[in-house]
Symmetry: C2
Subunit: 315 residues, 2 copies
Protein backbone atom coordinates (compact mmCIF):
# COMPACT_ATOMS: atom_id res chain seq x y z
CA UNK A 1 0.00 0.00 0.00
CA UNK A 2 3.02 2.30 -0.22
CA UNK A 3 1.89 3.77 -3.49
CA UNK A 4 -1.72 4.26 -2.41
CA UNK A 5 -0.48 6.04 0.72
CA UNK A 6 1.69 8.25 -1.44
CA UNK A 7 -1.30 9.10 -3.63
CA UNK A 8 -3.37 9.96 -0.57
CA UNK A 9 -0.54 12.20 0.61
CA UNK A 10 -0.41 13.97 -2.76
CA UNK A 11 -4.14 14.62 -2.52
CA UNK A 12 -3.87 15.92 1.04
CA UNK A 13 -1.00 18.24 0.12
CA UNK A 14 -2.81 19.57 -2.91
CA UNK A 15 -6.08 20.09 -1.03
CA UNK A 16 -4.21 21.92 1.74
CA UNK A 17 -2.77 24.37 -0.77
CA UNK A 18 -5.99 25.33 -2.50
CA UNK A 19 -7.26 28.83 -1.89
CA UNK A 20 -10.39 28.97 0.24
CA UNK A 21 -10.01 32.59 1.23
CA UNK A 22 -12.44 33.96 -1.32
CA UNK A 23 -15.48 36.12 -0.57
CA UNK A 24 -18.25 35.84 0.52
CA UNK A 25 -16.94 33.94 3.55
CA UNK A 26 -20.34 32.34 4.17
CA UNK A 27 -20.00 30.51 0.85
CA UNK A 28 -16.36 29.45 1.05
CA UNK A 29 -15.88 28.64 4.75
CA UNK A 30 -18.19 25.60 4.61
CA UNK A 31 -16.26 24.29 1.59
CA UNK A 32 -12.98 24.59 3.44
CA UNK A 33 -14.60 23.06 6.53
CA UNK A 34 -15.99 19.91 4.91
CA UNK A 35 -12.78 19.31 2.93
CA UNK A 36 -10.73 19.66 6.13
CA UNK A 37 -12.74 17.07 8.03
CA UNK A 38 -10.64 14.40 6.44
CA UNK A 39 -12.02 11.23 5.01
CA UNK A 40 -9.85 8.57 3.46
CA UNK A 41 -9.38 10.32 0.08
CA UNK A 42 -9.81 6.88 -1.50
CA UNK A 43 -11.57 8.09 -4.61
CA UNK A 44 -8.97 10.60 -5.78
CA UNK A 45 -6.20 8.14 -4.83
CA UNK A 46 -7.85 5.62 -7.16
CA UNK A 47 -7.81 8.20 -9.96
CA UNK A 48 -4.05 8.63 -9.55
CA UNK A 49 -3.53 4.86 -9.27
CA UNK A 50 -5.51 4.16 -12.44
CA UNK A 51 -3.57 6.80 -14.33
CA UNK A 52 -0.21 5.38 -13.28
CA UNK A 53 -1.37 1.79 -13.83
CA UNK A 54 -2.01 2.59 -17.48
CA UNK A 55 1.18 4.52 -18.10
CA UNK A 56 -0.02 8.08 -17.48
CA UNK A 57 1.62 10.73 -15.34
CA UNK A 58 0.03 11.15 -11.93
CA UNK A 59 0.55 14.93 -12.12
CA UNK A 60 -1.77 15.03 -15.13
CA UNK A 61 -4.51 13.37 -13.07
CA UNK A 62 -4.04 15.44 -9.92
CA UNK A 63 -6.48 18.29 -10.60
CA UNK A 64 -9.25 15.98 -11.92
CA UNK A 65 -8.67 13.76 -8.85
CA UNK A 66 -9.26 16.79 -6.62
CA UNK A 67 -12.43 17.42 -8.63
CA UNK A 68 -13.60 13.85 -7.83
CA UNK A 69 -12.96 14.44 -4.11
CA UNK A 70 -14.80 17.78 -4.17
CA UNK A 71 -17.73 16.12 -5.94
CA UNK A 72 -17.81 13.42 -3.25
CA UNK A 73 -17.89 16.09 -0.54
CA UNK A 74 -20.58 18.05 -2.38
CA UNK A 75 -22.76 14.93 -2.31
CA UNK A 76 -22.14 14.48 1.42
CA UNK A 77 -23.17 18.07 2.19
CA UNK A 78 -26.43 17.83 0.24
CA UNK A 79 -27.21 14.25 1.36
CA UNK A 80 -26.73 15.29 4.99
CA UNK A 81 -29.42 17.96 4.55
CA UNK A 82 -31.81 15.45 2.97
CA UNK A 83 -31.04 12.74 5.54
CA UNK A 84 -31.30 15.23 8.40
CA UNK A 85 -27.88 14.09 9.63
CA UNK A 86 -26.22 16.18 12.30
CA UNK A 87 -22.80 14.52 12.49
CA UNK A 88 -20.25 13.83 9.75
CA UNK A 89 -16.79 12.48 10.51
CA UNK A 90 -17.32 13.22 14.18
CA UNK A 91 -18.10 16.89 13.55
CA UNK A 92 -21.20 18.93 12.87
CA UNK A 93 -22.60 18.69 9.36
CA UNK A 94 -22.54 21.91 7.32
CA UNK A 95 -26.27 22.59 7.66
CA UNK A 96 -25.99 22.07 11.43
CA UNK A 97 -22.93 24.26 11.85
CA UNK A 98 -24.30 27.01 9.58
CA UNK A 99 -27.79 26.53 8.16
CA UNK A 100 -29.64 24.74 5.38
CA UNK A 101 -29.44 27.62 2.90
CA UNK A 102 -25.69 27.87 3.30
CA UNK A 103 -25.37 24.10 2.93
CA UNK A 104 -27.42 24.14 -0.28
CA UNK A 105 -25.47 27.02 -1.78
CA UNK A 106 -21.97 25.97 -0.78
CA UNK A 107 -22.82 22.48 -2.05
CA UNK A 108 -23.84 23.99 -5.39
CA UNK A 109 -20.57 25.91 -5.52
CA UNK A 110 -18.65 22.69 -4.79
CA UNK A 111 -20.35 20.93 -7.68
CA UNK A 112 -19.26 23.75 -9.99
CA UNK A 113 -15.76 23.67 -8.48
CA UNK A 114 -15.59 19.93 -9.13
CA UNK A 115 -16.12 20.67 -12.82
CA UNK A 116 -13.49 23.40 -12.72
CA UNK A 117 -10.88 20.99 -11.36
CA UNK A 118 -11.99 18.28 -13.77
CA UNK A 119 -11.57 20.74 -16.62
CA UNK A 120 -7.92 21.38 -15.71
CA UNK A 121 -6.84 18.66 -18.10
CA UNK A 122 -5.68 18.38 -21.68
CA UNK A 123 -8.18 19.27 -24.37
CA UNK A 124 -7.73 15.91 -26.05
CA UNK A 125 -9.17 13.93 -23.12
CA UNK A 126 -11.64 16.53 -21.85
CA UNK A 127 -14.79 15.48 -23.74
CA UNK A 128 -14.50 11.84 -22.66
CA UNK A 129 -13.65 12.79 -19.08
CA UNK A 130 -16.63 15.13 -18.87
CA UNK A 131 -19.02 12.57 -20.33
CA UNK A 132 -17.93 9.93 -17.83
CA UNK A 133 -18.07 12.33 -14.89
CA UNK A 134 -21.48 13.81 -15.70
CA UNK A 135 -23.03 10.39 -16.30
CA UNK A 136 -21.77 9.34 -12.87
CA UNK A 137 -22.95 12.57 -11.23
CA UNK A 138 -26.49 12.13 -12.57
CA UNK A 139 -26.50 8.52 -11.41
CA UNK A 140 -25.44 9.52 -7.90
CA UNK A 141 -28.49 11.85 -7.80
CA UNK A 142 -30.70 9.00 -9.02
CA UNK A 143 -29.29 6.70 -6.33
CA UNK A 144 -29.98 9.23 -3.59
CA UNK A 145 -33.55 9.64 -4.84
CA UNK A 146 -34.10 5.84 -4.85
CA UNK A 147 -32.67 5.66 -1.34
CA UNK A 148 -35.16 8.32 -0.17
CA UNK A 149 -38.00 6.53 -1.98
CA UNK A 150 -37.15 3.25 -0.23
CA UNK A 151 -37.63 4.84 3.19
CA UNK A 152 -41.36 5.12 2.64
CA UNK A 153 -41.76 1.69 1.02
CA UNK A 154 -42.82 -1.40 2.92
CA UNK A 155 -40.86 -3.77 0.75
CA UNK A 156 -37.85 -3.32 -1.49
CA UNK A 157 -36.64 -6.13 -3.65
CA UNK A 158 -33.03 -7.24 -3.88
CA UNK A 159 -32.43 -6.05 -7.43
CA UNK A 160 -33.77 -2.58 -6.63
CA UNK A 161 -31.58 -2.38 -3.54
CA UNK A 162 -28.45 -3.41 -5.43
CA UNK A 163 -29.24 -0.94 -8.21
CA UNK A 164 -29.71 1.81 -5.62
CA UNK A 165 -26.32 1.23 -3.99
CA UNK A 166 -24.69 0.82 -7.40
CA UNK A 167 -25.95 4.31 -8.31
CA UNK A 168 -25.56 5.99 -4.95
CA UNK A 169 -22.07 4.82 -4.04
CA UNK A 170 -20.42 2.43 -6.51
CA UNK A 171 -20.41 4.36 -9.77
CA UNK A 172 -18.32 7.08 -8.10
CA UNK A 173 -15.54 4.55 -7.42
CA UNK A 174 -15.89 3.36 -11.01
CA UNK A 175 -15.76 6.89 -12.43
CA UNK A 176 -12.80 7.83 -10.21
CA UNK A 177 -10.82 4.94 -11.69
CA UNK A 178 -12.07 5.55 -15.22
CA UNK A 179 -11.01 9.21 -14.98
CA UNK A 180 -7.42 8.12 -14.35
CA UNK A 181 -7.59 5.67 -17.25
CA UNK A 182 -8.99 8.35 -19.59
CA UNK A 183 -6.23 10.79 -18.62
CA UNK A 184 -3.65 8.05 -19.28
CA UNK A 185 -5.22 7.80 -22.77
CA UNK A 186 -6.02 4.15 -22.21
CA UNK A 187 -8.15 2.18 -24.65
CA UNK A 188 -11.92 2.18 -24.27
CA UNK A 189 -11.68 -1.46 -23.21
CA UNK A 190 -9.22 -0.67 -20.41
CA UNK A 191 -11.31 2.33 -19.30
CA UNK A 192 -14.43 0.19 -19.12
CA UNK A 193 -12.64 -2.64 -17.29
CA UNK A 194 -11.33 -0.25 -14.62
CA UNK A 195 -14.78 1.28 -14.31
CA UNK A 196 -16.29 -2.17 -13.77
CA UNK A 197 -13.54 -3.03 -11.28
CA UNK A 198 -14.49 0.08 -9.29
CA UNK A 199 -18.23 -0.51 -9.41
CA UNK A 200 -17.88 -4.11 -8.22
CA UNK A 201 -15.45 -3.14 -5.47
CA UNK A 202 -17.96 -0.48 -4.47
CA UNK A 203 -20.75 -3.06 -4.25
CA UNK A 204 -18.54 -5.45 -2.23
CA UNK A 205 -17.59 -2.52 0.02
CA UNK A 206 -21.27 -1.74 0.64
CA UNK A 207 -22.02 -5.39 1.48
CA UNK A 208 -19.21 -5.28 4.05
CA UNK A 209 -20.53 -1.97 5.36
CA UNK A 210 -23.98 -3.48 5.91
CA UNK A 211 -22.41 -6.51 7.65
CA UNK A 212 -20.26 -4.32 9.91
CA UNK A 213 -23.22 -2.16 10.84
CA UNK A 214 -25.06 -5.21 12.22
CA UNK A 215 -22.22 -7.53 13.23
CA UNK A 216 -19.11 -5.37 13.59
CA UNK A 217 -16.98 -4.67 16.60
CA UNK A 218 -18.18 -1.31 17.90
CA UNK A 219 -14.72 -0.28 19.12
CA UNK A 220 -13.16 -0.87 15.73
CA UNK A 221 -16.11 0.18 13.54
CA UNK A 222 -16.15 3.60 15.19
CA UNK A 223 -19.91 3.84 15.38
CA UNK A 224 -22.62 2.08 17.29
CA UNK A 225 -23.48 -1.41 16.07
CA UNK A 226 -27.10 -1.90 15.03
CA UNK A 227 -27.79 1.58 13.64
CA UNK A 228 -29.38 0.15 10.49
CA UNK A 229 -31.49 -2.24 12.58
CA UNK A 230 -32.79 0.48 14.87
CA UNK A 231 -33.46 2.83 11.95
CA UNK A 232 -35.39 0.12 10.10
CA UNK A 233 -33.06 0.39 7.11
CA UNK A 234 -33.86 -1.97 4.27
CA UNK A 235 -30.37 -3.31 3.71
CA UNK A 236 -29.73 -6.53 1.84
CA UNK A 237 -29.55 -8.35 5.21
CA UNK A 238 -33.09 -7.22 5.96
CA UNK A 239 -34.41 -7.82 2.46
CA UNK A 240 -33.04 -11.37 2.31
CA UNK A 241 -34.22 -12.26 5.82
CA UNK A 242 -37.69 -10.84 5.09
CA UNK A 243 -37.95 -12.90 1.91
CA UNK A 244 -36.87 -16.06 3.69
CA UNK A 245 -38.95 -16.12 6.82
CA UNK A 246 -42.62 -15.81 7.63
CA UNK A 247 -42.26 -13.30 10.42
CA UNK A 248 -40.18 -10.41 11.57
CA UNK A 249 -38.41 -10.87 14.91
CA UNK A 250 -40.77 -10.37 17.86
CA UNK A 251 -41.08 -6.81 19.16
CA UNK A 252 -38.86 -6.07 22.12
CA UNK A 253 -38.63 -3.31 24.65
CA UNK A 254 -34.99 -2.38 24.56
CA UNK A 255 -32.69 -1.40 21.72
CA UNK A 256 -30.19 -3.99 22.90
CA UNK A 257 -32.78 -6.77 22.70
CA UNK A 258 -33.95 -5.60 19.29
CA UNK A 259 -30.42 -5.64 17.90
CA UNK A 260 -29.80 -9.09 19.40
CA UNK A 261 -33.01 -10.55 17.96
CA UNK A 262 -32.35 -9.07 14.51
CA UNK A 263 -28.79 -10.41 14.56
CA UNK A 264 -30.17 -13.88 15.33
CA UNK A 265 -32.82 -13.46 12.63
CA UNK A 266 -30.16 -12.49 10.06
CA UNK A 267 -28.17 -15.61 11.00
CA UNK A 268 -31.08 -18.05 11.18
CA UNK A 269 -32.57 -17.00 7.85
CA UNK A 270 -29.17 -17.30 6.19
CA UNK A 271 -29.13 -13.57 5.41
CA UNK A 272 -25.70 -13.03 6.95
CA UNK A 273 -24.19 -15.85 4.94
CA UNK A 274 -25.97 -14.67 1.79
CA UNK A 275 -24.60 -11.13 2.08
CA UNK A 276 -21.10 -12.49 2.76
CA UNK A 277 -21.37 -14.58 -0.38
CA UNK A 278 -22.60 -11.58 -2.34
CA UNK A 279 -19.65 -9.58 -1.09
CA UNK A 280 -17.25 -12.28 -2.28
CA UNK A 281 -19.02 -12.57 -5.60
CA UNK A 282 -18.68 -8.81 -6.29
CA UNK A 283 -15.08 -8.97 -5.15
CA UNK A 284 -14.30 -11.77 -7.58
CA UNK A 285 -16.02 -9.98 -10.43
CA UNK A 286 -13.88 -6.95 -9.64
CA UNK A 287 -10.70 -9.04 -9.62
CA UNK A 288 -11.55 -10.59 -12.97
CA UNK A 289 -11.93 -7.14 -14.51
CA UNK A 290 -8.62 -6.02 -13.05
CA UNK A 291 -6.77 -9.14 -14.16
CA UNK A 292 -7.76 -8.55 -17.77
CA UNK A 293 -6.09 -5.13 -17.80
CA UNK A 294 -2.55 -4.77 -19.14
CA UNK A 295 -0.88 -2.37 -16.76
CA UNK A 296 2.11 -1.76 -14.52
CA UNK A 297 2.36 -4.87 -12.29
CA UNK A 298 3.46 -2.92 -9.21
CA UNK A 299 0.40 -0.67 -9.37
CA UNK A 300 -1.89 -3.58 -10.17
CA UNK A 301 -0.76 -5.53 -7.13
CA UNK A 302 -1.42 -2.49 -4.98
CA UNK A 303 -4.94 -2.24 -6.35
CA UNK A 304 -5.50 -5.94 -5.55
CA UNK A 305 -4.25 -5.45 -2.01
CA UNK A 306 -6.29 -2.27 -1.66
CA UNK A 307 -9.48 -3.96 -2.89
CA UNK A 308 -9.01 -6.86 -0.49
CA UNK A 309 -8.46 -4.48 2.41
CA UNK A 310 -11.69 -2.66 1.58
CA UNK A 311 -13.84 -5.76 1.69
CA UNK A 312 -12.06 -7.37 4.63
CA UNK A 313 -11.91 -4.25 6.76
CA UNK A 314 -13.37 -4.37 10.23
CA UNK A 315 -13.71 -0.61 10.56
CA UNK B 1 -37.21 41.05 -33.32
CA UNK B 2 -37.98 38.42 -35.98
CA UNK B 3 -34.68 36.68 -35.45
CA UNK B 4 -34.86 36.73 -31.66
CA UNK B 5 -38.35 35.27 -31.85
CA UNK B 6 -37.07 32.56 -34.16
CA UNK B 7 -34.28 31.75 -31.68
CA UNK B 8 -36.79 31.54 -28.83
CA UNK B 9 -38.89 29.21 -30.96
CA UNK B 10 -35.87 26.99 -31.66
CA UNK B 11 -35.22 26.76 -27.93
CA UNK B 12 -38.85 25.95 -27.15
CA UNK B 13 -38.94 23.24 -29.82
CA UNK B 14 -35.71 21.70 -28.62
CA UNK B 15 -36.74 21.78 -24.97
CA UNK B 16 -40.07 20.18 -25.85
CA UNK B 17 -38.27 17.26 -27.50
CA UNK B 18 -35.91 16.42 -24.67
CA UNK B 19 -36.56 13.18 -22.83
CA UNK B 20 -37.83 13.68 -19.30
CA UNK B 21 -39.25 10.21 -18.94
CA UNK B 22 -36.33 8.76 -17.03
CA UNK B 23 -36.49 7.05 -13.65
CA UNK B 24 -36.80 7.77 -10.78
CA UNK B 25 -39.85 9.91 -11.57
CA UNK B 26 -39.41 11.93 -8.36
CA UNK B 27 -36.12 13.25 -9.73
CA UNK B 28 -37.12 13.95 -13.33
CA UNK B 29 -40.70 15.20 -13.03
CA UNK B 30 -39.66 18.42 -11.24
CA UNK B 31 -37.11 19.09 -14.00
CA UNK B 32 -39.76 18.72 -16.66
CA UNK B 33 -42.17 20.81 -14.57
CA UNK B 34 -39.91 23.83 -14.05
CA UNK B 35 -38.76 23.81 -17.69
CA UNK B 36 -42.40 23.69 -18.84
CA UNK B 37 -43.44 26.71 -16.82
CA UNK B 38 -42.15 28.90 -19.59
CA UNK B 39 -40.10 31.96 -19.03
CA UNK B 40 -38.87 34.14 -21.85
CA UNK B 41 -35.92 31.92 -22.88
CA UNK B 42 -33.93 35.13 -23.31
CA UNK B 43 -30.62 33.69 -22.19
CA UNK B 44 -30.43 30.79 -24.63
CA UNK B 45 -31.80 33.05 -27.38
CA UNK B 46 -28.87 35.39 -26.72
CA UNK B 47 -26.45 32.46 -27.08
CA UNK B 48 -27.85 31.70 -30.53
CA UNK B 49 -27.86 35.39 -31.48
CA UNK B 50 -24.22 35.86 -30.43
CA UNK B 51 -23.20 32.79 -32.38
CA UNK B 52 -24.90 33.99 -35.57
CA UNK B 53 -23.70 37.57 -35.08
CA UNK B 54 -20.12 36.37 -35.24
CA UNK B 55 -20.54 34.02 -38.18
CA UNK B 56 -21.19 30.74 -36.37
CA UNK B 57 -23.95 28.24 -37.08
CA UNK B 58 -26.86 28.46 -34.66
CA UNK B 59 -27.21 24.65 -34.72
CA UNK B 60 -23.74 24.40 -33.19
CA UNK B 61 -24.85 26.60 -30.30
CA UNK B 62 -28.21 24.95 -29.71
CA UNK B 63 -27.24 22.32 -27.12
CA UNK B 64 -25.03 24.70 -25.10
CA UNK B 65 -27.89 27.25 -25.21
CA UNK B 66 -30.21 24.63 -23.72
CA UNK B 67 -27.53 24.08 -21.06
CA UNK B 68 -27.63 27.80 -20.23
CA UNK B 69 -31.43 27.68 -19.88
CA UNK B 70 -31.25 24.58 -17.66
CA UNK B 71 -28.63 26.27 -15.50
CA UNK B 72 -30.91 29.30 -15.15
CA UNK B 73 -33.78 27.05 -14.06
CA UNK B 74 -31.53 25.16 -11.62
CA UNK B 75 -30.71 28.47 -9.95
CA UNK B 76 -34.41 29.35 -9.73
CA UNK B 77 -35.26 26.02 -8.07
CA UNK B 78 -32.53 26.35 -5.43
CA UNK B 79 -33.03 30.11 -4.90
CA UNK B 80 -36.76 29.52 -4.35
CA UNK B 81 -35.93 27.12 -1.50
CA UNK B 82 -33.54 29.63 0.07
CA UNK B 83 -35.91 32.56 -0.42
CA UNK B 84 -38.86 30.53 0.85
CA UNK B 85 -40.80 31.46 -2.29
CA UNK B 86 -44.02 29.59 -2.96
CA UNK B 87 -44.90 30.90 -6.42
CA UNK B 88 -42.83 30.93 -9.62
CA UNK B 89 -44.30 32.01 -12.95
CA UNK B 90 -47.77 31.85 -11.45
CA UNK B 91 -47.36 28.22 -10.37
CA UNK B 92 -46.12 26.45 -7.27
CA UNK B 93 -42.37 26.34 -6.80
CA UNK B 94 -40.76 22.89 -6.91
CA UNK B 95 -40.22 22.66 -3.15
CA UNK B 96 -43.86 23.65 -2.59
CA UNK B 97 -45.28 21.22 -5.14
CA UNK B 98 -43.03 18.35 -3.98
CA UNK B 99 -40.72 19.00 -1.03
CA UNK B 100 -37.39 20.58 -0.17
CA UNK B 101 -35.37 17.38 -0.57
CA UNK B 102 -36.73 16.79 -4.05
CA UNK B 103 -36.06 20.43 -4.95
CA UNK B 104 -32.45 20.16 -3.73
CA UNK B 105 -31.81 16.92 -5.58
CA UNK B 106 -33.57 17.72 -8.85
CA UNK B 107 -31.75 21.07 -8.81
CA UNK B 108 -28.45 19.23 -8.43
CA UNK B 109 -29.35 16.98 -11.34
CA UNK B 110 -30.21 20.05 -13.45
CA UNK B 111 -26.80 21.58 -12.74
CA UNK B 112 -25.16 18.36 -13.96
CA UNK B 113 -27.48 18.28 -16.98
CA UNK B 114 -26.51 21.86 -17.81
CA UNK B 115 -22.90 20.68 -18.07
CA UNK B 116 -23.97 17.72 -20.21
CA UNK B 117 -25.68 20.02 -22.71
CA UNK B 118 -22.80 22.46 -22.59
CA UNK B 119 -20.41 19.61 -23.35
CA UNK B 120 -22.28 18.72 -26.55
CA UNK B 121 -19.98 20.96 -28.52
CA UNK B 122 -16.80 20.63 -30.56
CA UNK B 123 -13.68 19.64 -28.66
CA UNK B 124 -11.84 22.69 -29.97
CA UNK B 125 -14.06 25.18 -28.15
CA UNK B 126 -14.93 23.06 -25.12
CA UNK B 127 -12.19 24.17 -22.67
CA UNK B 128 -12.92 27.87 -23.21
CA UNK B 129 -16.68 27.32 -23.04
CA UNK B 130 -16.37 25.37 -19.80
CA UNK B 131 -14.08 27.95 -18.20
CA UNK B 132 -16.48 30.77 -19.01
CA UNK B 133 -19.53 28.82 -17.84
CA UNK B 134 -18.04 27.60 -14.55
CA UNK B 135 -16.71 31.06 -13.68
CA UNK B 136 -20.21 32.42 -14.21
CA UNK B 137 -21.84 29.60 -12.25
CA UNK B 138 -19.60 30.21 -9.22
CA UNK B 139 -20.32 33.93 -9.42
CA UNK B 140 -24.08 33.31 -9.46
CA UNK B 141 -23.65 31.35 -6.20
CA UNK B 142 -21.60 34.22 -4.76
CA UNK B 143 -24.31 36.71 -5.78
CA UNK B 144 -27.04 34.66 -4.10
CA UNK B 145 -24.96 34.47 -0.92
CA UNK B 146 -24.40 38.26 -0.91
CA UNK B 147 -28.13 38.77 -1.46
CA UNK B 148 -28.90 36.58 1.57
CA UNK B 149 -26.24 38.38 3.61
CA UNK B 150 -27.79 41.77 2.78
CA UNK B 151 -31.12 40.72 4.29
CA UNK B 152 -29.67 40.76 7.78
CA UNK B 153 -27.65 43.94 7.29
CA UNK B 154 -28.86 47.37 8.36
CA UNK B 155 -27.03 49.18 5.63
CA UNK B 156 -25.72 48.14 2.25
CA UNK B 157 -23.64 50.47 0.17
CA UNK B 158 -24.24 51.15 -3.50
CA UNK B 159 -21.10 49.43 -4.77
CA UNK B 160 -21.89 46.28 -2.82
CA UNK B 161 -25.45 46.27 -4.14
CA UNK B 162 -24.31 46.69 -7.74
CA UNK B 163 -21.70 43.97 -7.31
CA UNK B 164 -24.35 41.66 -5.86
CA UNK B 165 -26.73 42.08 -8.81
CA UNK B 166 -23.83 41.86 -11.26
CA UNK B 167 -23.00 38.43 -9.79
CA UNK B 168 -26.49 37.20 -9.13
CA UNK B 169 -28.14 38.11 -12.42
CA UNK B 170 -25.94 39.95 -14.91
CA UNK B 171 -23.01 37.60 -15.46
CA UNK B 172 -25.44 34.94 -16.69
CA UNK B 173 -26.53 37.21 -19.55
CA UNK B 174 -22.86 37.94 -20.22
CA UNK B 175 -21.91 34.25 -20.21
CA UNK B 176 -24.89 33.32 -22.39
CA UNK B 177 -23.68 35.76 -25.06
CA UNK B 178 -20.03 34.82 -24.62
CA UNK B 179 -20.92 31.13 -25.08
CA UNK B 180 -22.33 31.91 -28.53
CA UNK B 181 -19.23 33.92 -29.38
CA UNK B 182 -16.91 31.13 -28.24
CA UNK B 183 -18.80 28.56 -30.32
CA UNK B 184 -18.54 30.90 -33.34
CA UNK B 185 -14.76 30.84 -32.70
CA UNK B 186 -14.71 34.61 -32.29
CA UNK B 187 -11.61 36.44 -31.10
CA UNK B 188 -11.00 36.88 -27.38
CA UNK B 189 -11.72 40.59 -27.86
CA UNK B 190 -15.11 39.94 -29.45
CA UNK B 191 -15.96 37.35 -26.76
CA UNK B 192 -15.10 39.83 -24.03
CA UNK B 193 -17.04 42.66 -25.69
CA UNK B 194 -20.17 40.52 -25.98
CA UNK B 195 -19.76 39.42 -22.37
CA UNK B 196 -19.53 43.06 -21.27
CA UNK B 197 -22.53 43.95 -23.42
CA UNK B 198 -24.51 41.26 -21.61
CA UNK B 199 -23.39 42.22 -18.13
CA UNK B 200 -24.26 45.88 -18.66
CA UNK B 201 -27.62 45.05 -20.21
CA UNK B 202 -28.21 42.83 -17.19
CA UNK B 203 -27.45 45.69 -14.82
CA UNK B 204 -29.71 48.07 -16.77
CA UNK B 205 -32.41 45.38 -16.75
CA UNK B 206 -32.15 45.08 -12.96
CA UNK B 207 -32.40 48.89 -12.53
CA UNK B 208 -35.59 48.80 -14.59
CA UNK B 209 -36.85 45.84 -12.56
CA UNK B 210 -36.35 47.77 -9.33
CA UNK B 211 -38.10 50.81 -10.80
CA UNK B 212 -41.06 48.73 -12.03
CA UNK B 213 -41.41 47.04 -8.67
CA UNK B 214 -41.95 50.41 -6.98
CA UNK B 215 -43.42 52.55 -9.78
CA UNK B 216 -44.77 50.13 -12.38
CA UNK B 217 -48.28 49.59 -13.61
CA UNK B 218 -49.57 46.60 -11.67
CA UNK B 219 -51.73 45.37 -14.56
CA UNK B 220 -48.81 45.34 -16.94
CA UNK B 221 -46.07 44.34 -14.51
CA UNK B 222 -47.96 41.19 -13.60
CA UNK B 223 -47.26 41.38 -9.91
CA UNK B 224 -48.20 43.67 -7.10
CA UNK B 225 -46.44 47.02 -7.05
CA UNK B 226 -44.48 47.75 -3.89
CA UNK B 227 -43.31 44.21 -3.09
CA UNK B 228 -39.73 45.38 -2.53
CA UNK B 229 -40.96 48.23 -0.31
CA UNK B 230 -43.11 45.98 1.86
CA UNK B 231 -40.36 43.36 2.12
CA UNK B 232 -37.83 46.00 3.16
CA UNK B 233 -35.57 45.08 0.24
CA UNK B 234 -32.39 47.11 0.00
CA UNK B 235 -32.61 47.98 -3.68
CA UNK B 236 -30.65 50.85 -5.19
CA UNK B 237 -33.75 53.07 -4.80
CA UNK B 238 -33.70 52.44 -1.06
CA UNK B 239 -29.92 52.71 -0.71
CA UNK B 240 -29.77 56.03 -2.56
CA UNK B 241 -32.75 57.50 -0.70
CA UNK B 242 -31.30 56.38 2.64
CA UNK B 243 -27.97 58.01 1.85
CA UNK B 244 -29.62 61.22 0.80
CA UNK B 245 -32.11 61.92 3.55
CA UNK B 246 -31.98 62.12 7.32
CA UNK B 247 -35.00 59.99 7.98
CA UNK B 248 -36.92 57.06 6.67
CA UNK B 249 -40.55 57.78 5.71
CA UNK B 250 -42.83 57.93 8.76
CA UNK B 251 -44.37 54.63 9.86
CA UNK B 252 -47.85 54.06 8.53
CA UNK B 253 -50.63 51.66 9.31
CA UNK B 254 -51.56 50.32 5.93
CA UNK B 255 -49.53 48.73 3.17
CA UNK B 256 -51.03 51.18 0.70
CA UNK B 257 -49.88 54.17 2.75
CA UNK B 258 -46.44 52.70 3.22
CA UNK B 259 -46.00 52.16 -0.51
CA UNK B 260 -47.24 55.68 -1.24
CA UNK B 261 -44.90 57.29 1.31
CA UNK B 262 -41.89 55.30 0.05
CA UNK B 263 -42.72 56.23 -3.54
CA UNK B 264 -42.74 59.91 -2.52
CA UNK B 265 -39.52 59.42 -0.57
CA UNK B 266 -37.83 57.84 -3.62
CA UNK B 267 -38.92 60.82 -5.74
CA UNK B 268 -38.10 63.56 -3.23
CA UNK B 269 -34.64 62.26 -2.45
CA UNK B 270 -33.86 61.96 -6.16
CA UNK B 271 -33.51 58.18 -5.88
CA UNK B 272 -35.93 57.49 -8.73
CA UNK B 273 -34.10 59.82 -11.04
CA UNK B 274 -30.75 58.45 -9.94
CA UNK B 275 -31.73 54.85 -10.71
CA UNK B 276 -33.14 55.92 -14.08
CA UNK B 277 -29.83 57.58 -14.86
CA UNK B 278 -27.93 54.49 -13.74
CA UNK B 279 -30.09 52.38 -16.01
CA UNK B 280 -29.29 54.64 -18.96
CA UNK B 281 -25.63 54.67 -18.10
CA UNK B 282 -25.42 50.85 -18.09
CA UNK B 283 -27.42 50.76 -21.30
CA UNK B 284 -25.00 53.12 -23.01
CA UNK B 285 -21.99 51.16 -21.79
CA UNK B 286 -23.62 48.06 -23.25
CA UNK B 287 -24.22 49.78 -26.57
CA UNK B 288 -20.63 50.95 -26.79
CA UNK B 289 -19.42 47.38 -26.31
CA UNK B 290 -21.78 46.12 -29.00
CA UNK B 291 -20.86 48.86 -31.47
CA UNK B 292 -17.19 47.90 -31.30
CA UNK B 293 -17.95 44.36 -32.43
CA UNK B 294 -17.60 43.43 -36.09
CA UNK B 295 -20.57 41.20 -36.80
CA UNK B 296 -23.55 40.60 -39.06
CA UNK B 297 -25.44 43.94 -39.19
CA UNK B 298 -28.89 42.32 -39.26
CA UNK B 299 -28.18 40.40 -36.03
CA UNK B 300 -26.52 43.41 -34.43
CA UNK B 301 -29.52 45.64 -35.04
CA UNK B 302 -31.76 42.99 -33.49
CA UNK B 303 -29.56 42.93 -30.39
CA UNK B 304 -29.80 46.73 -30.16
CA UNK B 305 -33.56 46.59 -30.45
CA UNK B 306 -33.71 43.72 -27.97
CA UNK B 307 -31.54 45.56 -25.43
CA UNK B 308 -33.67 48.69 -25.70
CA UNK B 309 -36.85 46.67 -25.20
CA UNK B 310 -35.41 45.10 -22.06
CA UNK B 311 -34.64 48.39 -20.38
CA UNK B 312 -37.77 50.18 -21.61
CA UNK B 313 -40.16 47.37 -20.80
CA UNK B 314 -43.12 48.09 -18.59
CA UNK B 315 -43.68 44.47 -17.67
Amino acid sequence: MKKIQAYVQMIENTLAHQDYDAEPRELYEPIHYILSLGGKRLRPALTLAACELLGGKTEDALMPAIGIEIFHNFSLVHDDIMDNASVRRGQKTVHEKWNTNIAILSGDAMLVKAYQYLGATEQEVLPKLLRSFSKMAIEVCEGQQYDMNFESKDTVNEDDYLEMIRLKTSVLLGAALEAGAIIARASDIACKALYNFGVNIGLAFQMQDDLLDSFGNADKFGKRIGGDILNGKKTLLYIYARNNSRNLPADTNSDEQKIKSFQNWFIETGAKQYVEEKRESFYHKAMKELEAIQGKPEVKSELVYFARSLVERDQ
